[in-house]
Symmetry: C3
């Protein structure tokens, strides 16, 4: 794979010229140059234009768009246009429409109205991609393929008969025999045994909850079904245009789509970044780190962000001045090499006519939104030659596992208050506050390069994961894991013989019972001595923990397990394994993270206040670039370490005590 524009940070947005007359296109070119745009995504929703009737293809307009971009020096991220099939398709092939769990067949009239397992959709989609690939493979504007769009955004679980049939094939491949399906899903319970493959259905609406094994496998199957669509297009594109990099715009960490599975097939991991207005800076940072880590540290990109408001939240206030710029720089700070917008020019009709765009309904450059976008474009162009391609090195890894996510939120279950990704976010936040770089990786990854590994709620232990963690700790690593870990194996079968199952010897604890708390219930973590000494509120969960080699650092403060261990550490080989049997508020988690970093000898990237987010990228030649982001509404004074730095955004030279204005950022390189 090669970078679509070597040495460049990509900058641009979704561009839908087909909504406008051609005189507007010329104006767009002028404005794009004003804004330093170097790449646009086109053709995302053009299927109906390209194939107005079954088998009749018309590429003339797309030809003109591609030529126009080339003439203006703007790269095309060319979409395969399969995201929204034409209306005539659902008339010709009604069974291509998805079906809800309740059995309602959806209609066309919005977008993404296809069943991922529809043979008709797959055949027609492949035919279109084949033609696109052949026509544009050699077009000089083409720098990247954009497969489909936001896979699974609206339809990530279809329950139609096509899916039922495909699910059976998937199960046959995975389990070979019905007996294995039966024992894996535990169908003896509730008299659910299958004697005929035909009896296996998607987890459609039933009289009570569906079998949890079936539900878990349906998550897996649907992820694979969507990925199958991607791979269908991938195969065509790689065959016809082997040198053009592939991407698709993933959602943020999104339950239906396992980013790690998908990243293997993508040349550049890109995603759509639409944080809620009240999201913490660490929440955005987490998602960048997931996307970057999913491809082993290779620079990722934001394929879509909004220059200002979106239109699909309950209320859609503007991004305040500076916020979009800060988000853009945070992308680069976390290893990203591209920032694109949805969309370039605001639509005057359609479902997203009130979604912000770089060029607003006013249609000119004389307004806050355009000016800000142009400024960011200029700044990224400035950073590009130095920063593009540089990498992040992390000493801390957070473990993230989609199978656990799918398993742990099955309801009814111990608690509907378990929100896996939120919990990961809380632990990420605690380490993010240390101003250290963080990777977010799968539990079966090579952990040898990290000093601290954090595994929030490692509920499901895939084969080898316990051994992987033991190896990491015994080699001197520090592991922190939490309540409700080690409970099931990869088939979702409960660990017999005592929780936390395979983690028991590594952690040196035995959990007799776990106790999900109602919102009205609380407990305390009481630590008598050491740097963490204090009493801390706990929430969500309690456990009855027995020590089996571990040492209790803290105990519960009340209830019938008062004075029993709540936070433990176990020396294991040359390392330490910590276990926290409850959920604490952020203040304690931040303290705990600081303590673990200190013990592991991890220093902050820069020794400054945690109110400033700091990251570091290192170039191939070893140059270090520091990003200092002030997400607060107040100017912050900090003291730089010894030495003089070049401030890359304004070419000034800085040292010692400096001020970062509210909602502003510095990018520094040691001179």
């Amino acid at each position: 794979m090669q970078h679509p524009l070597p040495g460049h940070i990509l900058y641009g947005g979704d561009y839908n010229p087909e909504q406008w007359s051609e005189d507007i296109w010329q104006e767009d070119m002028r404005l794009m140059k004003l804004a330093n745009v170097n790449m646009v995504s086109i053709n995302i929703f053009s299927w109906t234009m390209l194939e107005p009737a079954a088998g009749q293809y018309h590429f003339e307009q797309l030809d003109r768009i591609m030529d126009l971009l080339y003439e203006n020096g703007i790269a095309a991220d060319l979409a395969t246009a399969t995201a929204s099939p034409p209306t005539w398709m659902s008339r010709l092939y009604p069974s291509m429409l998805p079906v809800t769990r309740e059995g309602v067949r959806l209609t066309h009239g919005s977008r993404q109205h296809y069943c991922p397992n529809s043979p008709d959709y797959r055949r027609k989609g492949a035919a279109l991609v084949q033609r696109l690939a052949e026509r544009y493979a050699k077009h000089p504007a083409l720098k990247m393929w954009h497969l489909n769009n936001e896979y699974g955004c609206h339809v990530n679980q279809c329950y139609c008969d096509n899916c039922a049939a495909a699910f059976r094939v998937w199960l046959q491949e995975r389990y070979q025999t019905l007996d294995v399906v039966n024992s894996t899903w535990g169908t003896t319970f509730w008299s659910q045994r299958y004697y005929d493959w035909e009896d296996i259905l998607p987890p459609r609406l039933s009289s009570a909850q569906n079998n949890p094994g079936q539900v878990l496998d349906y998550w897996r199957f649907m992820n694979d079904s969507l990925l199958g669509l991607y791979r269908l297009e991938e195969d065509i594109l790689r065959a016809v245009a082997p040198t053009i990099p592939l991407t698709t715009n993933l959602m943020v960490a999104f339950k239906p789509v396992d980013v790690y599975d998908w990243a293997k097939h993508m040349d550049i991991v890109s995603f759509d970044m639409y944080p809620e207005p009240e999201a913490l800076p660490s929440w955005n940072a987490l998602h960048h780190d997931i996307m970057r880590s999913a491809k082993g540290g290779r620079p990722h990109m934001v394929m879509e962000q909004s220059p200002s408001e979106v239109n699909w939240q309950p209320q859609n206030p503007h991004k305040r001045p500076g916020q979009m710029r800060l988000h853009s720089l945070q992308t680069v700070a976390h290893g990203g090499d591209g920032v694109l917008f949805f969309q370039w020019r605001q639509s005057k009709t359609g479902a997203e006519m009130y979604h912000a765009a770089v060029v607003t309904h006013e249609g000119n450059e004389h307004n806050r939104i355009f000016r800000q976008a142009a400024q960011v474009g200029a700044e990224l162009a400035k950073l590009s030659p130095i920063v593009a391609g540089s990498r992040i090195q992390a000493d801390v890894a957070i473990l993230l596992d989609w199978d656990t996510w799918w398993a742990v939120e099955y309801l009814p279950g111990p608690s509907d208050r378990i929100k896996y990704m939120e919990l990961v976010g809380k632990y990420y936040h605690a380490f993010h506050q240390q101003n250290v770089n963080i990777d977010v990786v799968r539990p079966d990854s090579d952990l040898s390069k990290y000093r601290v590994v954090v595994a929030p709620m490692l509920h499901m232990l895939h084969r080898g994961v316990a051994q992987n963690l033991e190896q990491f700790v015994s080699a001197g690593g520090t592991l922190l894991t939490t309540f409700y870990s080690g409970i099931v194996d990869e088939n979702n079968h409960a660990a017999l013989g005592g929780y936390p199952g395979e983690l028991r010897s590594l952690l040196g604890v035995h959990v007799e019972e776990f106790d999900p708390l109602t919102p009205e219930m609380h407990n305390e973590l009481v630590i008598k001595e050491g740097s963490l000494a204090g009493t801390y509120n706990t929430d969500l969960w309690g456990e009855l923990v027995h020590l089996e080699g571990a040492q209790a650092i803290g105990v519960f403060g009340s209830d019938y397990y008062a004075r029993k261990a709540a936070l433990t550490v176990n020396k294991f080989g040359a390392g330490h394994a910590y276990y926290l049997a409850t959920l604490n508020d952020a203040d304690f988690l931040v303290k705990l993270a600081a303590e673990l970093c200190q013990q592991a000898g991890i220093k902050p990237t820069l020794p400054i206040s945690s109110e400033i987010e700091v990251t570091k990228r290192v170039t191939e030649t070893g140059k270090e670039i520091y990003f200092l982001l002030n997400h607060t509404q107040q100017a912050k004074q900090i003291t730089l370490p010894h030495g003089t730095f070049t401030s890359l955004l304004d070419d000034s030279s800085v040292q010692g005590e400096i001020t970062i204005p509210a909602m502003d950022a510095l990018v520094l390189q040691a001179e």
Copy 2:
């Protein structure tokens, strides 16, 4: 059209004698006379009695009821009985049953279980109406036709195949070609282009939001479909019985039914008045003023109100003593000439057995509810000869537009906190507090007779509306409009080139951005000088406003548009156009309304406290009748203007300082 009972205020209720044995009918006649009833609505739910099997009609019972009414001097408001088809019809014609957006076909077993576009329902309904018309056209009891009942109350959006076909015909009539549909709806977006009329569907459940153009047109189409049902019956009745006035009981201002469209076809506008217990007096007043204005000021009537509790709110407390009387007098105060109840005698079975009636389950006159109804009957009879037929004259008009209502609440959109009718209610309330008469009219109405015109959220500008407003203002009028106005044209296409589009020169402002606020966000309106000086909380919305000729009266107090204009006035010709770029609390809106009235030289109807609602009706001969309503729980002392008045309810003579008891009213005529 003639008044059904010339010179009379109509008084009575829905009467369903078919639920009772005939001896009860005689008792009803006695009680009706006790209560001064002069008209009852009958036959509303009698289809199943009139046509017990397909094509077999039985009118004997209805004959007896009509004769009984005539013998007792009570007029019949004869319903066409099409509101609830017989159960055998849905068996014979299953496709007449409506279908939900999710595709569920509803069943019979309640009421209004028909698709408005069902050919079977239309054919059978027309046949029944034809027979009814022919049989009763000359019956001396017949004084009014009551078409169907509460059109669209339960089924105002059907999504069946009949509707799909009718929608296509409707679109062909409106747009002629598919190309125009495509460009109007902006189907280029999300690849939704139609190449075949057959592909166009109702906005059924889809994978994401339906196209907003399609959704808007579906509101229009469904309003037209329901109106088509009305007109089908209208044509028959006018042909057979041309002198009998027609009405149907509209709901209160009800999103699915555009009152202005319907009023054209009604001789008397009537509606059902069921305010929530906590509704403000101005909320009821607003609805009266809509209904009266819809027919150019001709007296309207309340076809249904409850004598006490209803049965369909979460909890149904009684109307407190005096409340029903006050509501009845308020109807007359706002130009109404009729007050009827649902229903006359409380059912002992059925879905509304716990809905209050004039004759309760006790079945006699010895209770609070009957006594109160009888008192109101006596009072209306007293007012009748003087008041009936008199008119309201208003200097203030509020603009109300169903197309805007439909467009502005489409979701997802800028804010789900936009509630158009509530907003209209807030502005109505502010002027209602001035004790001035108000009309509520369409934006394209002749505005020359008003001094102040208020256009809350004039989001959609139909062709000519901007010019209509410019003409009004340039001739010396005062216009007040608000945030999120002038955003789209009648095709729901965003104004390009700068908001508020066509209103830009009239208002003298340019709105660069609009900023919907979350419930947690607030701002302030800061006015430095003048009678409005002060700082006022604002909510819901902010805007970035640039002055283009207008003057800033007030500015925003905080956020990044602090010190930018929030309330502006633009001198335009001989008049003034005000723009308020945010939503204020009632206290400021009341002050603003007072200021605008004063500037426009509008005086209150009577110069007394706004705690007393005051209206004035003027008879053909110029007599002025004042209505003074005390909606509060306390007696209020007021001072009448110079002169002596006759108190019409008790024939006393009053002057100077007087007291209106709590929940009581005065009707005064200058002597």
Copy 3:
């Protein structure tokens, strides 16, 4: 009927050995003996094992389980296995799957996926039961039949065509003619008259609310349909194995299933006891008293309780130490002779893998849950010879009526705040606090053995009920009834001529209006003199009450019925009838209950604090056993009445002042 294990309190749980390999079975036998288990329920979800293909039966595994139990001295409560049909059945007979009100046909994949009126399900179920009965009728382990499981738990309202047809047959049997159906349902209203039986449907989703008569009859029909399933199995089992007692595990008082109807056909009333964590002790007590009373005082049993957490509440915290034991002893205290768990061994897969079991995932006896279960087993074994078979005698009866429950919660109606069973619970609680034994019986029961009868919201008066109450009161009894009583007859027709209809002369009051309050509305009950003197908050409901012979004890404090009667007493024959026209908080209801008990000469079972729950069982030979339960978190000191008692749980002798530890209990027998 005979006791399954004469002289024994039954102890054990649901046992599903088919989920485990046979070596585990041996370990189970060892652990069961450790825990004093004497009965297990087996075969509940085994249909798929017994009949892997249509008509192919395999009983070998069940034979082995039955033999194993017998060899180990453990009785079998043998389930008929019809609770969850095999997956192949729904493929062969798709119409056996239930259909929701919205028309969605459910699928297999969970449990209870059958329509109660499916001929296919009935035929296949009966065939299985016939075979089971024949095979095991004489097996020495068989001590009880367990029919199906939790009838109606998930599917208690099916709306399919099978049900429609069966509903018509049910209506024909009940009403004979369509005319009677029409007049009973009041189909004149809203034009709903039926002229053909085929037009009658289940109350499927319609455009507005379904007819209340139809809805009420559908509750009755569905209760009868489920009971019909039970009776189908009952007939087979009684024919083949006439000496084996029958039971099924009812839910707690559960709206779809009328316990009194069902108890007639059960030899032992058993039910599943899953109180919410915050349930009051009286809530559990109420359910025990219902179950015991339903079978005329014959000992009932708990067929399922959880040894600790469940898995289907939003969050599932543990039962705290002592709580399960206290619940178990409370069962016996209220006349129960059996306590079984769901389930014996915790499943490692399936929908209930996180539901607690006696043997946890750890699989051994070394933990809190097992130890506690073993302790309870030992204690029950100790109590068994003395307590088993003894009875409760009550002076107080609460009236409970499923028809009222079904009728009174129909919506829309006067108030959605009416929760019938909660209201019964509030009155039960007030008398439970008096430490008196209570029966809970139907309104048409023989009341002659009671001194106080409480009828909360006796809304529907079946024929004879008013006379039954008059007879009770005139013979000297004390009756307390409440607001919204006497409103309808058994056909749900409103009482004409004045509320409370047939109760009017007994209560000596006339209710002119009833007034449901919103949550924001309140009133007061003001009592001027006597032991109840004071002012008490009231809620939910007010009424306008006129005295017709009764005396006002208290009056309303505010609103327009201030100073009108709120609490009345009417001397009627030798007794007194009280009427409370509103809802008071618990504190007043407890005082009122105390007053009524005192007036009726009812003394507490033991004269100690109401913080300790006290009941008394009496053996056939007249021995009295007292149960003293401390449900609080504090130790409580009490003074026993004169004399010495044997404490049966520890064989100690106690007298005078003693302490009951927190969450602990005493079982005392006078020496």
